[in-house]
Amino acid sequence: MAETATASPARTADEIKRDPLVAAAVARSGEAITGAKEFAGEITLNVAADRIREVAAAFKEDGFSYLVDLTGVDYSKYPGWTGARYGVAYMLYSFRKNARIRLKVFSDGVVPSVTSVWKTANWHERETFDMMGIRFDGHPNLERILMWEGFNGHPLRKDFPVRGIDTGARIYPEVFPEGGGPKAGSTGKDVKDVNMYKGEWKHYGTWPAASISARAKAGTQQPPAPELASQVAETAKPTEEAPWHDPEMPMPQRLDLAKTGSLKDKLFAAMAQTDCTACGWDCEGYAAALATGESKDPTLCVPGEAETEMKLKELLAAAGT
């Protein structure tokens, strides 16, 4: 299947809609199909969110009797994303045609349920609601399935910290008692949505990079968090003191800019410059820690990969520490 995808040139949306696999159902759905895409031999049809139920029924009638999977995607951190926040993907399979297609809707939080079309959608929609917070209109029993009743937050949202929220007790002492678990008698309805919380995270999640130096000075350095490595902080911009502080600049050029500086500056220039804080500091903080001997481990820069690690070792060896 994948071979055919790479061999044939990409088809336009209209050509995909005329594909014999989907043409009949697309014709019946008319305007509800808002777009089409093909990748790796798989057809994805975008559907207007409010009409997904009738489109699903049309596809079911056309042979796609088996709803393989239904899941959500939170696009809020997707690079360059401008559309609605959530995508819901429906994987369909036709036994007669032995083929798969995918329907996709985009929405800001409410999608009509397809449980009346496929019974199997019931648990899938419950899971998507539980994990993403997408509500499915017309679902007979939309309650949490993997997390417990009363849990606040939707773990697969992109702004939910990967370390978890420790039942919320530390963040919401007014709602959750110390020691975990929901408040006795809680129905889950009285619990605030964690993603709506506007205050500062007290113990978990991502720290704003600006406060990290202050934190380091106060002696409350955060522990290393490799899962932060893929982010680029807003502070990652060249400044007058540190013109090399630019994630886009290649390393030789950065080192060239810092060659007259102190050991700390040279180490600083060898970092990945993303201020991702995966090592526990921002880039400058980590360089200072290495230069003063506070940290003896030159392997902590995750986004810099082997390049940074080797350069740090080289610089430290040259400085004789």
Partner: protein, 371 residues
């Protein structure tokens, strides 16, 4: 609310025959089940969240821990999906493909053996347990010889396999496949015509093919209804199109037919393994990895790919933004989760003791249900 005879009973979460931590809230009229409501999530570990926060190769050991009695097929589904996303499916060397098939079929045998052992002991037949674990031990030894682990194998890599077969492994496998057929005969002699076994399984948990599709049921429970559908045949992956095997099907869609299907599947897996041995010997030793970049950074796009795991259709859905080495979203479509959803449909009207047979016959692994 309740009729005077009705009562509500919790079955699990701590119960030996729930195969983990499944809780079923039962509404009973005497011993008859009026309604059953599975409650899951006790083993939820946020695997999908973890996947989003680590590079693709690091995800492979985490896939082991979903269906922890069938790690090889979990690995296979994952690496194939990433390969499809990268467009390198056609570059996997033949030797690696055959090795993947061999490990998956061994895994199918070991998973079915564990299922048979626990299913039988749940229903009250003690002996098959010892017989099954005797052979399962040999399969696990084969895994251990190959990759050092017995359950959490981590035995596949994106683009190929981690290591070549160790010397003597194929001889061990040949010896195992030579006597496994007789071992299955032995299990069948204990159960297939056993009057007690038949009374506990025939006609219990009947489901029709239409209803099975409606509920998304796959794997042996679907084939037990008489529908001949197996992803290894319908949408062949790796080298399954070169192999000869049959798809065993049932007729009535009851627990007994699902039992027969799985027994026949073990024989077919053994047959596939026997075909694989000369095939793998004919390929050059050491040719087990495609030449791909060591940094896995797939292009922007989304793919869904699924394989036939011992429990049913195991699918992975990956959304990649093309910028990082992590998946933007990685969804697992676990067969046990979907099959378990039909438990209330199957259980309605049966006795509490039949629920034990039904949980066994769906063959759930809670690690996969909850992820």
């Amino acid at each position: 609310m309740f009729d005077v005879h009705e009562m509500e009973v919790n079955f699990g979460p701590q119960h030996p025959s729930t195969h983990g931590v499944l809780r079923v809230l039962l509404k009973l009229d005497g011993e008859r089940i009026i309604d059953a409501k599975p409650i899951i999530g006790y083993l939820h570990r946020g695997t999908e969240k973890l996947f989003e926060n680590m590079p693709y190769p690091q995800c492979i050991p985490h896939t082991d821990r979903m269906d922890y009695v069938a790690a090889a097929t979990n690995n296979l589904g994952f690496v194939e999906t990433v390969e499809k996303l990268m467009g390198i499916t056609g570059q996997i060397p033949k030797r690696a493909q055959i090795m993947r098939v061999m490990l998956s079929e061994l895994q199918r045998i070991s998973s079915h053996l564990l299922w048979l052992a626990t299913h039988a002991i749940d229903i009250g037949a003690m002996t098959p347990f010892f017989y099954c674990f005797r052979e399962r031990e040999q399969v696990l030894d084969l895994f251990e010889t190959y990759c050092g682990a017995r359950l959490t194998l981590n035995c596949m890599r994106i683009g190929g396999m981690p290591d070549d077969l160790p010397p003597g492994w194929l001889d061990d496998l040949e010896a195992f496949t030579g006597k496994f057929e007789a071992a299955v005969d032995e299990y069948e002699s204990l159960l297939t015509n056993n009057r007690i076994w038949k009374r506990r399984t025939v006609g219990v948990g009947v489901i029709s093919p239409e209803e099975a599709i409606e509920w998304g049921i796959t794997g042996p429970p679907l084939r037990g209804t008489g529908l001949e559908w197996d992803l290894r045949r319908a949408q062949p992956y790796e080298c399954y199109s070169d192999l000869k095997f049959e798809i065993p099907v049932g007729k009535n869609g009851d627990t007994y037919d699902r039992y027969l299907v799985r027994m026949a599947e073990m024989r077919q897996s053994n047959r596939i393994l026997r075909q694989c041995i000369p095939m793998v010997k004919a390929t050059p030793a050491g040719d087990i990895k495609a030449k791909i970049s060591r940094v896995i950074r797939p292009p922007e796009g989304e793919v869904y790919h699924s394989i036939e795991s011992p429990k049913g259709e195991l699918g992975y859905y990956i959304v990649s933004d093309g910028k990082t080495q992590n998946a933007y979203r990685l969804r697992v479509r676990p067969p046990s989760f979907v099959n378990l959803q039909a438990l209330p449909v199957m259980a309605k009207g049966h006795l509490v003791s039949d629920l034990v047979a039904l949980i066994g016959t769906i063959d759930i692994v809670l690690g996969e249900v909850d992820r």
